[in-house]
């Protein structure tokens, strides 16, 4: 009798555990959505609304069209974003990358920038990723202060090489993407 009892308790417990985990996962998902995703959507929607209804759009389109629809233009963007003095300023929250990404998205949607360039553009606007966060990120990895001292410039200088390189790789990887 106690064996059956044990079995029932065991099953009940594991089922409860799984259901509890799923429920908590859902709670986390909704929490992140409300606190992180929707506010940014609201902000981005406002910017898109502004771009589409005012003349700002044409002005941005002219600026972006020249630079974002050629490989040298994208390389230029990536080099600027990777300059060690600028990259930590562009980093925080990836806000700049998200805004520029959205602007490019609008122009791609309007056909001003070829769809194929979406892939290299994703890398061109982002060589500064995490450049503001290097000391904290290294501290999370329990790095010694000496490592942080060397690590910050090492990552920043590395980006000057790997930033433009990533654009070139993405450019070659984008052949055949969305081409009719």
């Amino acid at each position: 009798m106690s064996a059956i009892n044990n079995l029932i308790v065991k099953i009940g417990r594991s089922v409860g555990g799984v259901v509890g985990t799923l429920y908590q996962a859902g709670r986390d998902a909704v929490d992140t959505t409300i606190r992180n995703v929707i506010p940014f959507m609201a902000f981005i929607s406002f910017i898109i609304g502004l771009i589409l209804t005012t003349g700002v759009g044409d002005w941005i389109a002219k600026g972006l069209k020249g630079s974002a629809s050629t490989l040298p233009g994208l390389l230029l963007i990536s080099v600027v974003c990777a300059i060690p003095l600028i990259s930590p300023l562009l980093g925080p929250g990836a806000v700049i990358a998200q805004i520029v990404g959205t602007l490019l998205g609008v122009e791609i949607g309007k056909g001003n920038i070829p769809a194929q360039y979406s892939l290299p553009a994703l890398f061109a606007i982002n060589p500064q990723v995490g450049c503001d966060f290097i000391p904290v990120g290294l501290a999370l990895g329990e790095a010694e202060p000496e490592t942080v001292e060397v690590g910050v410039p090492a990552v920043l200088f590395s980006r000057l090489i790997t930033g433009p390189l990533s654009v070139v790789i993405a450019y070659f990887a984008s052949f055949g993407l969305y081409s009719k």
């Binding site: 929707i38 502004l50 005012t54 982002n126 990120g137 290294l138 490592t147 590395s158 790997t162 990533s166």
Partner: protein, 197 residues
């Protein structure tokens, strides 16, 4: 401004255009509200388009990560710490991928604690560079910075293309880039450490 007048402003106006000062004011008000009408349309399409999928996906992957248990990947961290050329792909492709997938941004960088000091900056560089390329397929890893990818993806969607191709290529090129980034940063770190010592 009450709701009634907002509705009136946002409705399509069919009467003749007014002249004079009041007419200018009215046009200005219409242009003003047009910006937010358009913004609202965009917001609704975003919330109706990607948000439901995102919530369900976040729930599923969160549950998966919890059921597997984040502590299971510690063995991988120890394996990645080994010297030798065959461990480079583990350190700068497999470990960043698994860490970002399981621990998400910013906790993924804690996996650096299993590595010797000389690899830590390179691992951070590698892991942090992957928090965006993963978004196309696994947005749970970094939902707060979703628009780096979604911003451009929205444009592709408007053209009527599927996003699968872009998402997969972004992920794969991302893996190649973080591998190169890890190696380059490791070399630079080694040189700088030698100079300092």
């Amino acid at each position: 401004m009450n709701l009634q007048s907002l509705i009136l402003l946002s409705a399509d106006v069919t009467v003749e255009k007014q002249d004079g000062f009041l007419g200018v004011l009215a046009t200005a008000a219409e242009d003003f509200i047009k910006v937010f009408n358009k913004g609202g349309e965009v917001l609704l399409s975003l919330m109706g388009g990607i948000l439901p999928t995102l919530i369900v996906l976040l729930t599923a992957v969160n549950a998966l990560v919890r059921l597997i248990g984040a502590e299971k990947i510690e063995g991988l961290g120890r394996a990645a710490a080994r010297p030798g050329i065959q461990w480079y792909p583990v350190r700068y492709i497999v470990l960043p991928f698994v860490a970002v997938f399981m621990l998400t941004n910013p906790m993924a960088y804690t996996m650096g604690r299993f590595l010797p000091e000389r690899f830590k900056p390179a691992f951070y560089d590698s892991a942090v560079s992957f928090v965006h390329p993963i978004l196309g397929i696994f947005p749970h890893a970094n939902p707060g910075e979703l628009f780096v990818y979604v911003g451009i993806a929205t444009g592709i969607q408007q053209l009527g293309y599927g996003l699968g191709d872009l998402a997969v290529r972004y992920l794969l090129v991302g893996l190649v880039v973080i591998f190169i980034r890890g190696i380059v940063t490791e070399l630079i770190t080694a040189r700088m450490m030698k100079k300092g010592a």
